[in-house]
């Protein structure tokens, strides 16, 4: 298993380096002058040229790439013409916020999809099942950004249950930075009100992020339960006289959730993408919102950094999910290495 994870990590790294070369090169061959966008309109050419030199943008692309790569290994992701400082600083500032949101959304997604899937799968063709299916069809067909807009309107604007954006209420100040994660820092410092306020703010965007994937995973679990329910070993388990709940929640459930867990990784990954739109709609001060604004300004270093960071997260999620599947399914665990 360890060997397998190591191999996966290695190939993920190779893919990411390949991707970074692609994006880096692509960003530099297409027209667009990031420096011009950064400075005011009448800035003279020599100033622009000096800036270009300080940022090594006048060198050949491969030299730029090697300089960049060298810096990356020192934890320096380059200068952002959008935020006008090192991308590393921006990442430190915004990434924890996004990670918190995504973690929260993932928790909602996992809990929700499993409950719904099992709920539907145990009541096939009853109203519970139809309701869940209706929900999951809505979930897969409505894009996350539409959910975000509708939630904002209904639950924030009309009903006033949730705040309309941001991560903390005005007047609630961020806990002093220990880990960078608001919820964690507040917990460490015992500021429970801050945690509550933070969760309150994060709930709507998290649900908007979670729903599309939740629907998909719930569907997989439901159909998993239907498929597995037809297996001989389930018939036999019933035939041995095991109580229905043992059959259903033990012998049926575990094999049924495997397809759900497998796509869970893909769904969380989708969430990383959707976070870009949802953070924008909710004004969530996270990395995705920062990144999309930077992207719109052709901030090359931020674009490459974004792709790399999301790629790393993606790889980790995939590996975690694979490990999880191997944990659930011993056949994989024993044949893996």
């Amino acid at each position: 298993m360890k060997k397998y994870i190591g191999k996966r990590l290695f190939w993920a790294l190779v893919a990411l380096i390949g991707l970074s070369i692609f994006i880096f090169y692509f960003g530099r061959i297409i027209p667009g002058d990031p420096i011009r966008m950064m400075v005011s309109p009448q800035t003279p050419e020599h100033v622009v040229e000096e800036l270009r030199q300080s940022l090594a943008l006048d060198r050949p692309i491969y030299t730029q790439y090697f300089i960049w790569m060298r810096n990356v290994f020192q934890g320096e992701l380059g200068f952002s013409v959008y935020s006008r400082r090192s991308v590393t600083v921006d990442v430190q500032q915004y990434l924890p916020r996004s990670l918190e949101l995504i973690t929260y959304a993932a928790l909602i997604q996992i809990t929700g999809s499993f409950l719904l899937g099992i709920f539907a799968g145990s009541n096939i063709d009853k109203w519970q099942d139809h309701l869940t299916r209706l929900f999951s069809y809505i979930g897969v067909s409505v894009p996350a950004f539409v959910f975000a807009i509708i939630f904002l309107l209904v639950f924030s604007h009309n009903l006033g249950w949730f705040p309309s954006g941001g991560a903390l209420s005005e007047g609630v100040s961020e806990p002093s930075r220990i880990t960078g994660f608001i919820a964690l820092d507040a917990l460490l410092q015992g500021q429970f009100f801050t945690i509550g306020d933070f969760i309150h703010h994060a709930t709507l965007p998290a649900i908007a992020l979670a729903i599309p994937g939740m629907a998909q995973v719930a569907r997989m679990i439901r159909s998993g339960m239907i498929t597995i329910n037809q297996k001989e070993y389930i018939s036999m388990a019933r035939g041995y006289g095991l109580p229905e709940r043992i059959v259903r929640f033990k012998y049926l459930l575990r094999p049924s959730i495997i397809p759900g867990v497998t796509v869970l990784g893909m769904q969380i990954a989708m969430m990383l993408g959707n976070a870009f739109l949802v953070e924008m709609v909710f004004g969530w001060p996270g990395f995705s919102r920062f990144a999309i604004n930077a992207m719109m300004r052709s901030d090359l270093n931020t674009i490459v950094a974004t792709v790399l960071i999301i790629g790393i997260m993606f790889a980790i999620i995939n590996i975690v999910v694979d490990t999880l599947v191997a944990y659930i399914d011993p056949r994989i665990r024993y044949s893996g290495s």
Partner: protein
């Protein structure tokens, strides 16, 4: 004779929903098992043997449709049973040795987990008893070598023969009234088949159970059973004591079966009889065997032959007699 009937199936009709409509597989099937009697059920693949067996403890797949009939177990109709009674039936009365041990063991749980649950929920044993000891004992009784290792293994870590022995052990976990062995060897290697058959034979003898042994081949069950039911296309076409059937078969299908060289692997003995089992969506009217029958009359076309006792304990469903 007032022998106690353990199982009595009357006029059972079962079908499946398929893409072309609802099939009519089990067709007016009757069967009975008297206490301590061991019967064999013989028929080609697809003739409805497994369906009948699964009806007995109601573990049919979802798309099965029970259209009518009765399955009485110890006098009670299984088809009308409530959940609780059904549980009791499965735990105490009927046990089944599956056809495919690989598909019948949950691949994600260790043998020990599955075994424990069966023992635990049989309610036959005290909460306190040592499930492991009991399991090992059961494994030893089915001649599993290295029972400790088996106990702690996942099904996929065992060989086919071992899995089938585990299944047998599971089915014998509690004393039962009726043991159903549904082609217990059809998915096993030829070399293992005899071992398992003999094991089942010995167990039957030891425990003196009522039993139904299902097979495609007559030869397989011959030495274990008292009476044989020959099934064709969901209907019983001949019932006779084992010896009688071999010596004096009446139904043309049975004759064909006996003429065919039974192969141990099962599967085909259509060599002896031309044609195929019928289409269950729209089966032939009257006698279902008619299209393949060497000598049929108009009556065969119009009327379903009923089982007629031609001599004592020998029933045949054929207009030819």
């Amino acid at each position: 004779m007032t022998q106690q009937k353990v199982l009595e199936i009357k006029n059972l009709n079962v079908g499946y929903e398929t893409y072309r409509g609802v099939t009519d597989v089990i067709h007016h099937l009757d069967m009975e098992v008297i206490k301590k009697e061991k019967i064999g059920v013989i028929g080609e693949s697809g003739c409805g043997k497994t369906t009948t067996m699964k009806t007995i403890n109601r573990i049919l797949p979802n798309n099965a449709v029970i259209k009518g009939g009765q399955v009485k177990f110890n006098g009670k109709n299984v088809l009308d049973m409530k959940k609780k009674e059904l549980m009791k039936l499965r735990r105490k009365n009927v046990s089944m040795i599956p056809q495919d041990p690989t598909a019948s063991l949950n691949p994600l749980f260790k043998v020990k987990t599955q075994m424990k649950d069966i023992l635990k929920y049989s309610k036959e044993y005290d909460e306190e008893i040592d499930y492991k000891a009991k399991s090992i004992e059961l494994f030893e009784s089915v001649a599993l070598s290295d029972p400790e290792r088996v106990y702690d293994s996942y099904p996929f870590q065992l060989s086919g023969g071992m899995r089938q022995r585990v299944c047998i052990a599971m089915s014998l976990a509690t004393p039962k009234d009726l043991l159903i062995a549904d082609e217990p060897t059809s998915n096993l290697d030829v070399t293992i088949q005899n071992q398992v058959l003999n094991l089942i034979g010995n167990l039957l003898e030891e425990r003196d159970l009522s039993a139904i042994l299902v097979s495609q081949a007559l030869g397989t069950v011959k030495k274990f059973v008292d009476k044989i039911y020959v099934i064709y296309a969901g209907t019983v076409i001949e019932i006779a004591k084992t010896d009688k059937l071999f010596s004096d078969p009446i139904h043309p299908y049975t004759i064909g079966l006996l003429e065919a060289t039974p192969k141990l692997t099962g599967g085909g003995f259509s060599a002896g009889i031309a044609g195929q089992t019928p289409d269950y969506i729209d089966p032939p009217s009257g006698c279902r065997f008619r299209p393949r029958c060497p000598q049929y009359s108009d009556k065969c076309k119009n009327e379903r032959p009923k089982l007629i006792e031609v001599e004592k304990d020998h029933y045949v469903a054929c207009w030819g007699n």
